[in-house]
């Protein structure tokens, strides 16, 4: 107990936990829309596609500054998203295939670049590898400010276009017939998801980022039938995962932060799938049993 108290007073811990909680909230909110649009894998695609951007900005600018590397990630993520959107629009290739295609090309290219960087003399590429698996301990106060600003922008946009996003997610054709351009909404929402993903790269990394986008949303969906409640719950689950995951990795030696955040989020998902009322597995089994007994009685 004492160690937990000292931990919460530790400045580094506070910074990392706050960062992870912010990341969890942001990806929870945006993830809700991704999941409802059946684009859960968009997170995976975009986060992988961000890798060449990270390495490229290091090669071109020679900087190991997190902001600059993340800017590269953002650009490369946006380009990948535009590719995916236009492939779906202009060819007969479906969303999932387009995503897999773009993602593997971008990630492969990123790995090639990473190998190239390794060969450059005097370049310590350890700073780049942290984007693959994430390294939450590198979160600085500066990063928290960037996260907060991005989060504020994203939350404001979600609130502002709440009605439009809801309509567009449920029925894009109807949205268009009302004069809300689904093209613009799709690009806006996709770009917002890209931004949310890029924010998380530093903490959980390219590979696990999609879990942060999907898990809180999937868990939240189990507990409610209202979009607003789902989005808020999802943010809450994301934040809890961030804080609990960070605490666990600080208390247990050699436990990496990113993966423990993801494990925490996955635990919430498992719990929600099993125990949520009405949508939960156990509740369904219980209902089934109850009905069977009930109808058997009636049959007698």
């Amino acid at each position: 107990m004492n160690s937990i108290l000292t931990l919460f007073h530790d400045y580094t811990f506070q910074t990392v936990a706050l960062g992870s909680a912010l990341l969890g909230m942001i990806s929870g909110v945006l993830g809700s829309f991704a999941v409802l649009r059946k684009q859960s894998l968009l997170g995976d695609g975009i986060s992988h596609s961000a890798l060449p951007g990270v390495v490229m900005s290091f090669i071109l600018l020679g900087s190991k500054n997190t902001e600059i590397l993340l800017l590269g990630a953002l650009i490369s993520g946006l380009i990948a998203t535009l590719f995916i959107i236009s492939i779906v629009k202009h060819t007969r290739i479906k969303f999932d295939s387009a995503l897999a295609l773009v993602m593997s090309v971008f990630f492969g290219f990123g790995l090639v670049l990473l190998t190239y960087v390794q060969k450059i003399p005097n370049s310590n590429q350890a700073g780049l590898k942290r984007f693959i698996f994430g390294q939450a301990s590198t979160i600085l106060q500066r990063d928290i400010i960037i996260m907060s600003v991005c989060g504020l922008i994203l939350f404001t946009l979600v609130l502002l276009f709440w009605k439009e996003f809801k309509l567009f997610t449920f029925d894009p054709d109807f949205a268009q017939s009302l004069g809300f351009s689904p093209k613009k909404l799709n690009i806006l929402l996709s770009f917002m998801i890209v931004l949310a993903i890029i924010i998380g790269l530093q903490t959980v990394g390219v590979i696990l980022m999609s879990a942060m986008l999907i898990s809180p949303a999937v868990a939240a969906r189990q507990w409610t039938n209202k979009l607003s409640v789902m989005v808020m719950l999802s943010a809450l689950f994301g934040a809890i995962s961030g804080i609990v995951g960070t605490s666990a990795s600080s208390l247990i030696p050699k436990l990496p932060t990113g993966p423990s955040i993801v494990v925490c989020a996955s635990t919430i998902v498992a719990f929600s799938i099993l125990f949520a009322p009405s949508r939960g597995v156990l509740h369904r089994i219980y209902l089934h049993r109850k009905n069977r007994v009930l109808y058997r009685l009636k049959g007698d």
């Binding site: 007969r92 276009f161 809801k166 054709d173 949205a175 009302l178 004069g179 039938n225 209202k226």
Partner: protein, 250 residues
């Protein structure tokens, strides 16, 4: 100009193609105001495509659609045009209540960013009552039956308070009682001076339900008052390719 005023929608030289295959060929169509019009044709004749093209949801290869008392594009008409899509076109497991969905009908009027107000919610309740779903307002939409889904979409379109309505198979999967209720609603809309275009499948009920009909199979076979146009010869022309197809399969 005087003549133009009698039509709600005019379609000229409209051709729509998926890839290189045309699904609608050179459609010229005038939909008179204050009529209940059925769009009838075999499967794959392009009925849904016609509706979507008229709504601007699909980009035609050539041709244009004009809503005659305005020269503005459909995108700017917002709530003048009501739309009832096929109920299978959305995922009903979306986290929303019946009221939430019907309220979406008011969004066009509101435009970007503005939130629905109390008056919109009251309008929603009124429309739910019209389709006999007032007791379901707070019901989760995943718990609705097929017929109830149709009625929710209908209520949503009513909440648009549009002048022209396009409905894509509103009778699909509804029982006889609901069908009668929907028909009564359509007739009420017509009496209010609205124009209603309905994709319809049951040929037998066309003369009872509608006063205008368009027979379509890739291109327009005939369009006019039911009593003039809806006869066996035209129907044979409309459905000939499918009978040929059936023969070919035997």
């Amino acid at each position: 100009m005087e003549i133009q005023q009698n039509y709600a929608v005019e379609v000229e030289d409209l051709t729509v193609a998926y890839d290189s295959k045309p699904v609608l060929w050179d459609i010229d169509l005038k939909i008179p105001k204050k009529k209940l019009m059925a769009v009838v044709g075999p499967n794959g004749a392009g009925k849904t495509t016609l509706i979507k093209a008229m709504l601007g949801l699909l980009k035609p290869v050539t041709g244009f659609v004009r809503f005659t008392d305005t020269d503005t594009k459909i995108q700017k008409l917002k709530n003048r045009i009501g739309y009832v899509p096929q109920s299978g076109s959305v995922d009903w497991d979306f986290p929303a209540t019946v009221q939430d969905v019907v309220l979406m009908g008011c969004y066009g009027k509101l435009g970007w960013i503005r939130r629905p107000r109390q008056t919109d919610i009251e309008l929603t309740k009124k429309m739910l009552k019209k389709v006999g779903m007032e007791d379901y307002a707070s019901r989760q939409i995943s718990q609705l039956s097929g017929g109830q889904q149709q009625r929710v979409f209908l209520a949503r379109a009513l909440a648009q308070e549009a002048d022209v309505y396009f409905m894509d198979e509103p009778f699909k999967g509804v029982d006889a009682q609901t069908e009668r209720a929907i028909v009564a609603l359509l007739k009420e809309l017509k009496e209010q001076g609205k124009t209603v275009v309905v994709v319809h499948h049951d040929l037998q009920t066309v003369p009872d339900y509608f006063d205008w009909v368009t027979l379509i199979n890739l291109s327009i076979v005939a369009s006019g008052p039911v009593k003039d146009v809806f006869h066996e010869e035209n129907l044979k022309k409309t459905y000939h390719s499918s009978t040929k197809l059936l023969k070919g399969m035997v």
